[in-house]
């Protein structure tokens, strides 16, 4: 349904980047360190509204997420960041009351078109959750689970090793692959969840507050890892931690909660979406400025 993204193909596209450079949107080459290749959109959201039981949790979001970028979604609690990120791999489908309006294009293809199978979507768009959620299995079986259910059974061991290496976890767990995943620390569990996600060769990794349950050292390791991973993957991260967004992300979307007319329901909206540096140093909206400088929130 979607083109299968394999590493050689990706590398070829990266080499062929200068031609597509005309498609660059927003921010010039001088706006800080940027990936050298083109700003190809992975997701194009237009007018996306996600509702629970008909009540909008996040409304009228239009933004583009670029390839090999880390895109951060920041904002106060209840502004719909998690709801928004979960609609990028159709995890909201698992909540019966949720509905999505507007269009979410993934490499130009509507994710919510009738013939699109959400299972196929999630194969390409992996997700790491707020709380580390390893399966009650061994470390090896945790990473091997995805390849196994997707039928990637050739050379499973080297696939697992590769994923653990890319998640910077291999050296710490290589001697106890058969031990329970619950026996490692919280930070290691979260990197295990990232490895699990990498093992199925995704195109995009969605991270929903991946460090909120971790100490600063583990958080630092995950952030280093993200910077490493963005060479091969596109990453969208929801975070409560503005410093984290400032440290790792290329672009930042700031969401704000608004009360509706009846003052009963809270709806999140994107206030500003731009280069991270600009959002944090020279925001275009006073509400963003108040938030990132700590005057509110």
């Amino acid at each position: 349904m979607f083109p299968k993204v394999t590493d050689p193909e990706r590398m070829e596209r990266e080499r062929a980047t200068p031609e597509i450079d005309t498609a660059v949107r927003g921010g010039g080459a001088d706006a800080g360190p940027r990936p050298r290749f083109a700003r190809e959109a992975v997701f194009e959201l237009s007018n996306v509204t996600v509702s629970y039981d008909g009540i909008a949790a996040v409304a009228e979001v239009s933004l583009d997420v670029y390839r090999n970028h880390i895109t951060a979604l920041i904002g106060p609690s209840g502004c719909g960041k998690s709801t928004l990120i979960r609609c990028l791999n159709r995890m909201n489908d698992l909540i019966p009351s949720a509905s999505v309006e507007g269009s979410v294009l993934y490499h130009g293809q509507n994710l919510y078109a009738k013939q699109v199978d959400p299972v196929e979507v999630r194969k390409r768009i992996g997700m790491v959750f707020q709380k580390p959620n390893p399966f009650p299995k061994s470390i090896f079986d945790n990473v091997a689970f995805g390849p196994r259910v997707l039928g990637m059974k050739n050379d499973l061991h080297s696939r697992v090793e590769g994923a653990l290496r890319r998640a910077a976890l291999w050296d710490e767990v290589k001697d106890r692959l058969d031990a329970s995943a619950y026996g490692v620390s919280g930070g290691q569990q979260q990197r295990l969840c990232i490895a699990r996600c990498l093992a199925v060769d995704p195109d995009v990794i969605l991270m929903d507050e991946p460090c909120s349950a971790l100490d600063p050292i583990s958080t630092g390791k995950i952030e280093d890892l993200m910077l490493e991973l963005k060479r091969d993957y596109s990453i969208v991260i929801v975070t409560h931690n503005m410093q984290q967004a400032a440290r790792v992300s290329d672009r930042t979307a700031f969401l704000m909660v608004e009360l509706d007319a009846s003052e009963k329901h809270r709806t999140g909206r994107v206030v500003e979406y731009d280069e991270t540096e600009k959002v944090f140093t020279n925001p275009g909206d006073p509400r963003t400025e108040d938030y990132v400088t700590g005057k509110v929130g």
Binding site: L94, V119, F135, V149
Partner: protein
Amino acid sequence: MSAPPPAPPPDVTTAAAPRVPLAIPHAPRGARLKELAFRGGMLACLGVALVTLAAVLIQVFSKGIGRVDLNFITDLGSSIPDRAGIGAALVGTLWVIAVCIAFIVPVGVASAVYLEEYADRSRWYNRWIEVNIQNLAAVPSIVYGILGLAFLVRGPLSLGHVVLAAGLTLALLVLPVVVIAGREAIRAVPPSIRDGSMALGATKWQTIWKQVLPASVPGFATGVILAVSRAIGEAAPLIVVGGATYLSFYPSGLGSDFTVLPLQIFNWISQPQEEFKDLAAAGMIVLLGVLLVLNAVAVWLRNKYEKKW
């Protein structure tokens, strides 16, 4: 300790010092007495249960233990007390329980999975099924006996008074126990495990089969063993289904006539001779032994597969 410092320096922390004395008073005498009386009362209630159990056990063991030996366990029914044994009933119980387990495990797991993972609770028929499963667990066992007689022994299936009919009757009787325990077990699997699996591109079925069910094995196992423990002790429905009270051969298969431990005990108790009453006590010891073994297996399974999230 009990009085505030005489000249508190004018700083914020001591300015807000508590006005009440800091020494903690003893609890009033009355409260302690009440506490003691309450504890004593609860212990006495527990005592009623324990004393009754002890009385039964002492009675049964003092009468029956002398009769429990290898011959008693292997011998068939006989009208001469010295030759009568529990062998046929023990083998019959094993057969009937095997049929029962073979039925309740797949059907119970499938029902629990449907109700927890697929049933849309906004539909009236799903809510109706749920309520009725709760109700079925409370239906008297004799009613299942009549059901078994009408539908399995005679009627549509016409199996006759055989092991298969008895096993299926007991299976219907205890199925709600398995379904309810299984649903609890499935519900105890945290949603984060399901999310993690679905986010990797696993289908719902793969998520259930490879994550949810393995994680709920201990809950299911406990439910099945509780159900089997109940089934083993049932006499009433099997009287109706036509269990023999005297069998001169070992039940040999699904189509064989049968008797089970509770029926054999019931039969011996209703004999006039005193020797048969001793046999009944010995039979109860065997029945208790089987139940104890089953419960031990349940505890072992639960500990072995217990999961921490």
